[in-house]
């Protein structure tokens, strides 16, 4: 496969005179678009220039300049670097036309930007809060919004450093916490205000069928406390018997405002926090974040480190896919046997993570321009035993045991189909996108780290059903093993850290977007720096969150039993979805 290294230099300012101007701030790139013309501009980008994949929509609150900025990252699914465009809005009453008609994948991201930053997207079909609850006061990612127990804007807080004589704000508070209810309010009896709007968005609940008989539709909450929603995801489903008539996802039950925490943190502080996003794949989370910071600061990464990173990433991908297959079978009703077989392989990989990083799940292993510790030859030997012997065998074993299983085939084939057009439209990324016949893998399409040196294929399947989403995981495990084998053979000796590793990273003012092919899809980190040791804006483009945009179109018309496996087949982790 050829790698499109660069594209023609685009002069959008000339193409759209009066609408688009280049972003000429120091450290920034891309284009600034007038809000009124945004929809037409985006449609032209998509149709004329081929930027069909909307990767990320987010906002930045430039408090000193009294501006809000909406930032869009678009890419071509044929590969190549992307394009950034921004819309600048006044802080008071910020309104921008919604891009959902052009890129339906913007749906949840715009809701998130409305929820957290208070940017109103006019024309959005269902602009409700998405991560916070309905009735929440304010928009937390605004720079003038302060959380309970607020101390300072940025860490390290002076109460804890350098003297370290901190006290907890909740102890100083006479009520022991600052959550107070009005007299009449009983939290036990509280019904979230948002639910009315949510149920209203569902289809009618009683309908008449063609024979004139009334049928009751049942509205069922699947989740947050449900065994098969992989955490606290909630889907509100209208059922006609066993058939799904409509479905609305609800999320945010695990929301902790990761991004606000990230903006309080220093750059390095934030590394362990990224572990907690997709808690199955802390290594890749680290990698994406390190990549974004390295882009911002221009730190070079030593050769050996790049190899170590690739090895860790691919091990992460392998264990993630094993678990996915195991858990998918669990969703199919196999009583834990495949899941536990998968866990056996995962434990072996986690042994390696523990050996290099000291922790099995929350690795916190990557550093800017390096990794925390070197990989010893003994560990490499272990990795190569896995990569050359055990894991290929086990992948074959899974293949042999599961792929032809009649029940698996009959329950997965044709279930939850997503056409390639729809997959792109809904900004689906990762294995689920490739299972729909779009061979888009960032490792090939827009290579980062040293992925351009390895010989591997982009796994792709063409039916876009759950069976293909299962098969593609096996394919990817095998491709990852190929990369792993090459990396182990080629890994050079050398330093693992550029310069001295420091606790405080000073960054020049500017923005950067680092994205990697995480096991679950495109994981992007958007950083804005104002030149201090803390990020001004820190945004995570979470694949679990955005991949769910397409869920509704995949499950409606199917059975309730299919909902579970379609949801399981997309592969989401709530830690990342809710952030």
């Amino acid at each position: 496969m050829t790698i499109p290294v660069s594209t023609e230099t685009l002069d959008l300012a000339a193409k759209f005179p009066g609408i688009v101007t280049p972003d000429e701030r120091e450290g920034y790139s891309g284009w600034i678009v007038k809000a009124d013309e945004l929809a037409a501009f985006a449609a032209s980008l998509r149709d004329d220039l081929g930027y069909d994949f909307l990767s990320s929509v987010t906002g930045v609150d430039y408090l000193p300049e009294k501006k809000l900025e909406v930032v869009y990252h678009v890419y071509k699914t044929t590969g190549g670097p992307g394009l950034v465009f921004k819309v600048q809005l006044p802080r008071k009453k910020p309104e921008v036309p919604s891009l959902t008609p052009v890129y339906p994948g913007a749906d949840f991201q715009e809701r998130e930007a409305w929820d957290l930053l208070g940017i109103k997207f006019t024309g959005h079909p269902d602009l409700r809060r998405i991560l916070m609850w309905e009735g929440f006061e304010g928009h937390p990612l605004r720079k003038d919004w302060k959380e309970p127990f607020y101390e300072e804007d940025i860490k390290p807080y002076s109460s804890r450093w350098p003297e370290g004589k901190h006290s907890y704000a909740e102890d100083r508070n006479p009520f022991n916490d600052n959550v107070q209810f009005p007299k009449q309010f009983d939290p036990e009896k509280w019904v979230p205000e948002g639910d009315a709007a949510l149920y209203g968005a569902l289809a009618e609940y009683r309908t008449t069928d063609e024979d004139g008989l009334d049928t009751d539709h049942i509205v069922v909450n699947m989740g947050p406390q449900h065994p098969s929603t992989h955490g606290v995801f909630r889907a509100v489903i209208t059922l006609d018997g066993e058939d799904i008539v409509s479905m609305k996802p609800v999320m945010g039950y695990l929301h902790r405002n990761h991004e606000k925490i990230g903006e309080r943190n220093t750059y390095l502080h934030n590394m362990p926090y990224t572990d907690r996003l997709d808690y199955f794949c802390s290594m890749t989370n680290n990698h994406g974040y390190a990549l974004a910071v390295e882009k911002l600061t221009g730190i070079e990464v030593p050769e050996r480190t790049e190899y170590i990173r690739v090895i860790m990433d691919e091990l992460t991908r392998i264990q993630n896919h094993f678990i996915l297959i195991g858990m998918l079978l669990n969703d199919l009703g196999a009583y834990f046997t495949p899941a536990l077989y998968a866990f056996e392989e995962r434990e072996l990989i986690l042994d390696i993570f523990e050996a290099v990083a000291g922790s099995r799940m929350m690795c916190n292993y990557f550093r800017f321009g390096g990794v925390a510790r070197d990989v010893t030859p003994e560990i490499l030997e272990k990795v190569s035993a896995l990569a050359f012997d055990r894991l290929p065998r086990k992948a074959d074993e899974f293949d042999r045991l599961l792929t032809e299983n009649e029940i698996l085939v009959s329950r997965c084939k044709g279930v939850g189909r997503l056409s390639s057009e729809d997959a792109i439209k809904y900004s689906m990324s990762g294995p689920s996108l490739r299972a729909s016949g779009v061979p888009y893998d960032i490792r090939k399409a827009d290579p980062y780290s040293i992925y351009d040196r390895f010989d591997f294929d982009v796994a792709v399947r063409y039916n876009g059903d759950t069976y293909d989403r299962y098969l593609i995981r096996l394919d990817e495990i095998r491709q990852s093993l190929r990369i792993l084998q090459q990396a182990i053979r080629q890994i050079p000796e050398g330093p693992i850290q550029t310069g001295k590793s420091t606790y405080l990273t000073k960054t020049p003012a500017g923005e950067s977007y680092g994205r990697i092919e995480a096991p679950k899809g495109e994981l992007g980190y958007y950083l804005v720096s104002n030149g201090t040791g803390n990020p001004w804006r820190y945004h995570v483009r979470a694949p679990s969150f955005i991949n769910i945009t397409a869920l509704e179109s995949m499950v409606v018309g199917g059975k309730i039993a299919d909902f579970v496996i379609v949801f399981g087949g997309i592969d989401v982790v709530l830690g990342e979805m809710d952030r």
């Binding site: 049928t215 009751d216 947050p224």
Partner: protein, 118 residues
């Protein structure tokens, strides 16, 4: 021979007694701390919308009716099976005819889509 049925009655009595005892035991030893939220029916942690018991799709009813039809025919099979050797060829032909009629209804139901669930 009827004594045997009395044995069954004794058996039913004791098995019911054990089930009732089990429930009473649970009521006796189990704590009881009621609250309004606790007694809400489980719906994944959300307050259910609409009543929990309501009309179900008519297919279930259809299955029930078909079941009654075919189950009665199965019951007809049993005495035939027991006295089959006495009936001989006559019984066999008889049963072929019976099953033939049964199959007509069966395929009618099938073609009408009564057996379809998708």
């Amino acid at each position: 021979m009827l004594f045997d049925y009395m044995a069954i009655a004794v058996f039913v009595f004791f098995s019911t007694a054990i089930a009732v005892t089990a429930i009473l035991l649970g009521g006796l030893f189990g704590p009881r701390r009621k609250s309004e939220v606790k007694s809400e029916p489980y719906e994944s942690g959300m307050i259910p919308i609409g009543p929990g018991t309501r009309r179900m799709p008519v297919r279930f009813y259809l299955v029930a009716v078909l079941f009654i039809l075919f189950d009665i025919e199965v019951v007809f099979f049993l005495p035939w099976a027991v006295s089959f050797r006495k009936l001989g060829l006559f019984g066999l032909i008889e049963m072929f005819i019976f099953i033939g009629i049964l199959l007509v209804g069966y395929f009618y139901a099938w073609k009408k889509g009564a057996l379809e669930w998708e």
